[in-house]
Symmetry: C2
Subunit: 343 residues, 2 copies
């Protein structure tokens, strides 16, 4: 066992160094598929779990020992910055996040209050400190934030969407307000990630979950400079930065060019194809989360396919292409960890 996080499999892989086994963690590894998480949710709302550092830390730690993963990921929600931004945030059962005062007019962007993530999201930073103190030394904590585009899309749509029509219309119709919004969000999340790193997170991930709804040209025009800025601010904190998106196959060159020591990809693109396209850089992924609902034999086949495509090249971090689904059997998640570690 390595004695410091720096020697951990996960951080070595972030630096594209060889490791004794492929490191693995799971997006949403702390969450609804775990009975101990569901038990806590009986007593506390999702936002309560986020707002109380002791609870957020407890949830963050839940899967670490149980699964044997190589990194912890902070329990939080990418939309928490909407509270200090005054947009209003609620979670309704089954419907996901609801933004109560979505941005629909250009002038709303100019009225957004300044946010100091280290203070205004201080409860997240405190959770980072608590987790870091509690984690075994060989398990680094990953901090995270939503990417400017994904945050902007929620801020404008007001919730989940299939076609991102309101977001794109705003982008096309109010390009100056769009860029100002993206500029503010990129500063906010960049500094937020840096604050998490300063509090002890040993890596940070920028989640651009919905960026794949864009054409490559729109990504280049409306998103790229802002993601680049957020990633740069995070990198200034001197921890590895993971740049994650789904459905990024056609914009992967620009997506990787925006930054990140590690590029996270989903199952739509074979891992080897993606790795070739991003060049000399670490890669994270890319099992379909639904594969965890498959029979064990099919799940194992798909895990081994991802590993075969990575071919033990240094710099592969095994993960899903998106978060663990609530209906996932815990023993399947554990089995994946064992297979990835060489079982």
């Amino acid at each position: 066992m390595p004695l410091t996080p720096d020697d951990s499999r996960f951080l070595k892989a972030c630096r594209s160094e060889p490791t004794d086994a492929t490191p693995v963690w799971f997006m949403r590894q702390a969450g609804r598929y775990l009975p101990e998480y569901r038990a806590l949710r009986q007593k506390h709302s999702l936002l309560e779990l986020c707002h109380k550092p002791e609870l957020a830390a407890q949830v963050t730690l839940q899967p670490v020992e149980r699964l044997g993963v190589d990194a912890a990921i902070l329990f939080a929600d990418i939309l928490l910055p909407f509270e200090p931004l005054g947009l209003g945030l609620a979670f309704t059962a089954g419907e996901g996040p609801q933004i109560t005062r979505p941005i629909r007019e250009a002038n709303q962007v100019l009225e957004l209050p300044p946010v100091d993530p280290a203070a205004d999201l201080g409860y997240v930073i405190e959770a980072v400190r608590l987790v870091v103190r509690a984690l075994p030394p060989h398990v680094p904590l990953i901090g995270f934030a939503g990417a400017p585009f994904t945050l902007a899309s929620y801020a404008i749509e007001g919730g989940a969407t299939r076609n991102f029509a309101i977001t794109k219309r705003f982008m096309y119709t109010e390009p100056r307000a769009w860029h100002e919004l993206m500029r503010q969000l990129s500063e906010l999340v960049g500094r937020y990630l840096a604050a998490q790193a300063h509090a002890g997170a040993r890596a940070v991930q920028l989640f651009d979950s919905w960026v794949g709804c864009l054409s490559p040209a729109d990504y280049a025009t409306y998103v790229f400079p802002h993601s680049q800025r957020a990633l740069q601010l995070a990198s200034d904190a001197d921890v590895p930065v993971i740049h994650f998106g789904t459905d990024t196959a056609t914009l992967l060159a620009d997506f990787a060019r925006a930054g990140g020591d590690v590029i996270g990809v989903d199952w739509r693109i074979p891992l080897d194809v993606a790795w070739e396209r991003i060049g000399a850089r670490a890669i994270q992924g890319n099992l379909d989360p639904v594969a965890l609902l498959a029979p064990r034999a099919e799940l194992e086949r798909q895990v081994r396919d991802v590993l075969a495509r990575a071919n033990r090249r240094p710099g592969h971090i095994f993960n899903l292409g998106h978060g663990v689904l609530p209906e996932t059997p815990v023993d399947h998640v554990r089995a994946v960890v064992e297979w990835v570690h060489g079982g």
Copy 2:
């Protein structure tokens, strides 16, 4: 003006022959963005409009003259075959289709009744006949059907989904039942498309709207042979076949190999990149439907970008990457037709 549909811009482009101008039509060009459609929907439900050939024909014809498009697309719904299949079909305001008896167990597949599309969907075939009689000779009618995967996903999920978890779990857990379901659906839609062609449709389109949720490996294993079969049955009717999907960038080689004289792609992949990948074949696409909500200048810029990427190479049919959105201004759709035609 050409005197027969065979000499029409649209059918020439399907055959990759040069045309005087790029042909253009729009998925969902008959639909909710048109006031005359909304007026009819005040009096009739969506299913009534589909079930009554006179009404379906009327809706099909609504946009043809108003927009000046180069083809008509039959007004129908891809899920209509679920009625003779006994799955139950309803449309609820705002929520989209609801399948009342979704397929969740393998044995349900074996109990599906045989469907003869020419008879059991005779009202659609009758609508085709009525439209063909009413259309000007230079405007061909396009028939269509949902592709086996997209239909199977609705049949199994029971409605819209974001992650296709129930569908993929069924596919992984019950591969024999999955392939039997896909076999039945491919025969059904293949013969359905052929019946539309025999009734006078001069081209047919297979809609695989949701296939892009799959990894390329899963597409090859679970979908490819069935799409190929459906497309082959349609081709046997001796009309050009359009094979359309969204989010197909990473599986486009296999998608094109499955068949189709024309390959339809969405905005996620630049048209020239897609065209290079599908080889010597016609291509359809690929403006983002949300661009129609942009200010006119931005819309024109995006239309001209698609045209520039096609570069007047014979075999380009201008279309969107998915259907017209209900909130689309009609005059923007008309403007696109004019720009594409060389205005």
